[in-house]
């Protein structure tokens, strides 16, 4: 069933665990910020005022996006492998496309928000 090597499988496994540790922190910060941000209503102005033009938030969201684009596709690969009869090569192709999509859209969004605050 498996065509990849032990080495690749182990590195992917490790990457998923390390990205999970990063995500644990990112998700907590993200959720806490959301809870704080919605106090007294949510507005685009408020979000842009916080995130726009702020290099720290930009770095935070870039790290977040990279971690998600590493973590999620590896999990998706396992799910597809266990739940479907798709050939391994097809699964690898699908999740690679998914990873790139998450990465590109995420990075674009992070820079997009950052850019809204730069005049």
């Amino acid at each position: 069933m498996t065509t990849s090597s032990l080495r690749t499988e182990t590195y992917l496994w490790l990457a998923q665990r390390i990205s999970a540790m990063v995500l644990a922190v990112c998700v907590v910060v993200h959720l806490a910020t959301m809870i704080v941000a919605v106090q007294g209503g949510l507005s685009a102005e408020e979000i842009i005022a916080r995130v726009g033009g702020n290099k720290l938030w930009l770095v935070f969201y870039l790290v977040f996006v990279v971690s998600v684009s590493v973590h999620a596709p590896i999990g998706l690969k396992t799910i597809l492998r266990e739940m479907t009869s798709l050939p391994t090569r097809r699964i690898e192709l699908l999740v690679t496309v998914f990873a790139l999509l998450v990465l590109v859209l995420g990075v674009r969004a992070a820079f997009g928000l950052y850019g809204l605050g730069v005049s």
Binding site: T10, W13, M83
Partner: protein, 240 residues
């Protein structure tokens, strides 16, 4: 208990088949194996099932009892009957030979695949190895050696169900005892055998094996140990 009866529904046939209903007199301290034996001896001699020791040593009598894999010789009817009824199936995840008998070949093939047998380098002329029972590695090995090979963990494991190449809890539990056996010399080949997605990395730590193991072993813990050792070996380039 008098004329009390147990309603027993047993899977008859192979992969294709149907349930057959029996009524068995309820007795005190009756085990599920007693029930099956009563049916085979008194009601229907064509019923196939496996047992040998009747006392929880041999690991032959495992079946699915009301949806859960159990060793039937040590399972009292009073503990598992639902409204006085029992539904018995063969073990999950293994090919059914007939009725309650499954083909255990794949299960034991995977033990071999996981290099589940001891490899030593001493001859009979050398002194016996002195192994302290209190040493951490020996404790780790001793924690897993009571496996009776009943296949209950293998039948319970969802990863086995989803990935036919997955080695399963029992085989890897065995590997872990050997990796911690200081007399064994096949550490790296064994680590290579149990690494990767079809080996220890495939485990989702759902712990069904731990929950159901009749010997109260912890195969999930053993597999977690294998994950650590296998990862270190790959990072050091000892196995590829």
């Amino acid at each position: 208990m008098g004329a009390e009866q147990i309603n027993v529904s047993i899977w008859r046939g192979g992969e294709e088949g149907a349930y057959q209903a029996y009524q068995v007199p309820r007795l005190e301290s009756q085990t599920v194996l007693d029930v099956v034996t009563y049916i085979q001896r008194e009601l229907d001699p064509s019923l196939s099932y496996r047992f040998a020791c009747r006392v929880g040593v041999c690991g032959s009598c495992a079946m699915t009892v009301n949806g859960k894999a159990r060793w039937t010789c040590r399972t009292h009817v009073s503990r598992v009957a639902v409204n006085g009824s029992l539904t018995l199936n063969p073990l999950r995840n293994l090919p059914v030979v007939k009725d309650l008998v499954v083909d255990m070949e794949v299960f034991f093939d995977k033990w071999e695949k996981a290099l589940g047998s001891f490899v030593g380098d001493k001859t009979r002329d050398e002194a016996l190895a002195a192994v302290s029972p209190s040493e951490p590695k020996r404790k780790e090995a001793s924690a897993g050696i009571e496996c009776i090979g009943c296949g209950i963990c293998y039948a319970t494991c969802d990863v086995v169900d989803w990935n036919k190449d997955y080695l399963g809890p029992a085989a890897m539990n065995r590997s872990w005892t050997l990796i911690n056996d200081e007399r064994d010399v096949a550490r790296l080949p064994r680590l290579a055998a149990i690494s990767g997605d079809d080996g220890c990395l495939g485990c989702h730590s759902q712990q069904g094996c731990v929950e159901r193991c009749p010997k109260s072993l912890n195969p999930t813990g053993a597999i977690a140990g294998l994950k650590r050792e296998s990862m270190k070996a790959v990072l050091k380039g000892e196995i590829t």
